[in-house]
């Protein structure tokens, strides 16, 4: 077995210094080493997007990144958004539009949306659809997710005013 490597990774504002195997996937590090189980793993080959987190502000697939590749990075997971009592506007929008059913893929959609609305705060339906095209959902048929992304944009704009 390969020697362990030291990493320093900031996750949701907390700095973690850990020794990890070089082959440890970032998704497993987040879920099992840190216990942040809101990030889910659906396909383990970078296609479904359930494991999407933000790495230095960019949406990435944590199931095809090694933890050591995130050394020094700033990671944000779904736990960085709202709480059950006070949800983030994107989370509120997903609830209001019924944009989740089983909820397994949802954290990935939320993190993708966080990144996307940062770049395009006022998307059309077509743009919103394209933005989530890389995330798989088996339950919803996507229509309500598209609407939720647009509603979230409106809510966030109202928040900022």
């Amino acid at each position: 077995m390969a020697d362990k490597m030291k990493v320093k990774i900031t996750v949701n504002g907390t700095l973690y210094e850990r020794e990890v195997e070089p082959r440890l996937l970032l998704s497993d590090f987040i879920r099992h080493d840190l216990g942040l189980t809101g990030t889910h793993v659906g396909c383990e080959h970078g296609l479904c997007g359930a494991c999407t987190v933000l790495m230095n502000g960019e949406a990435v697939r944590s199931c095809i990144l090694f933890t050591v590749m995130a050394d020094g990075a700033d990671i944000k997971t779904v736990e960085s958004l709202g709480t059950m009592e006070k949800m983030h506007p994107i989370q509120e929008a997903f609830q209001e539009k019924h944009a989740l059913q089983c909820g397994f893929c949802t954290p990935g959609f939320l993190m993708t949306t966080v990144e996307y609305l940062g770049k395009n705060p006022n998307p059309t339906a077509e743009e919103a659809r394209e933005a989530i095209d890389g995330n798989f959902c088996r339950c919803t048929g996507y229509e309500n997710i598209v609407e939720a992304v647009q509603l979230a944009a409106k809510k966030m704009a109202a928040h900022e005013q």
Partner: protein
């Protein structure tokens, strides 16, 4: 998987036949072949590393010549297995003289492939197989030329050194064949959907090879 084709060797039939009896030559012809031992007159045993798309790993293989009719024909039984799956099958090789200086090899094989190789690597198998064949024949052509030159110079063929195809040459060949396969077919128009997937496969292959390495 069914494979068939032919290849023209620039050399007399007996020399071609002698060459393929030499495990060192055979080993050098197969990309990823670590070693090949002749365990009896008709049996070879070897180890090779296979990489097909995202699937890679070591294979233990056995090659048996059945009913060899030197220097005309032979049947080859192939059996290999390892972590990425298995290959099993039979092939026929026929060496036909085309004048005194040239030999045509006609071959056909029926291979059954299983495990991760099949379930994940399937999309790439045809291209990989094609590339392996081409790389193998290029190497064999060079080997044959070297052996004939050595013979002309009065040296023993054992003294000839054979160069194995490099991993990167082989990877290039695979990529080229993969593209060729796409554009020539009726589905060529779908290439636009498939290219991004191939990129994903290549990225995964790199990741996985690091993972296992």
């Amino acid at each position: 998987m069914k494979i068939e084709g032919e290849h023209l060797f620039n050399g007399p039939r007996q020399d071609v036949w002698d060459m393929i009896q030499d495990p060192v030559v055979l080993a050098s012809a197969v990309p990823g072949m670590d070693k090949l031992d002749k365990v009896s007159e008709t049996e070879y045993q070897g180890k090779m590393n296979i990489r097909i798309g995202p699937v890679s790993g070591a294979f233990d293989g056995k090659l048996t010549m059945q009913n060899p009719v030197p220097p005309e024909s032979t049947t080859l039984l192939v059996e290999g297995k390892g972590a990425p799956g298995f290959v099993k099958g039979a092939g026929n090789a026929q060496f036909i003289e085309q004048g005194p200086e040239q030999t045509v090899l006609k071959y056909d094989a029926d291979l059954s492939i299983g495990g991760t190789l099949a379930s994940v690597g399937q999309r790439m198998i045809d291209s990989v197989a094609k590339s392996m064949m081409r790389t193998a024949f290029e190497t064999l052509d060079a080997a044959l030329a070297a052996r004939l030159a050595a013979k002309a110079a009065g040296k023993a063929t054992e003294e000839v050194e054979y160069k194995q195809a490099s991993e990167s040459d082989y990877a290039k060949a695979v990529a080229k064949d993969a593209m060729g396969g796409l554009t020539s077919s009726a589905e060529g128009k779908l290439v636009i959907y498939i290219i991004p997937m191939i990129v994903v496969v290549i990225v995964l292959a790199v990741l996985l090879s690091r993972c296992s390495g």
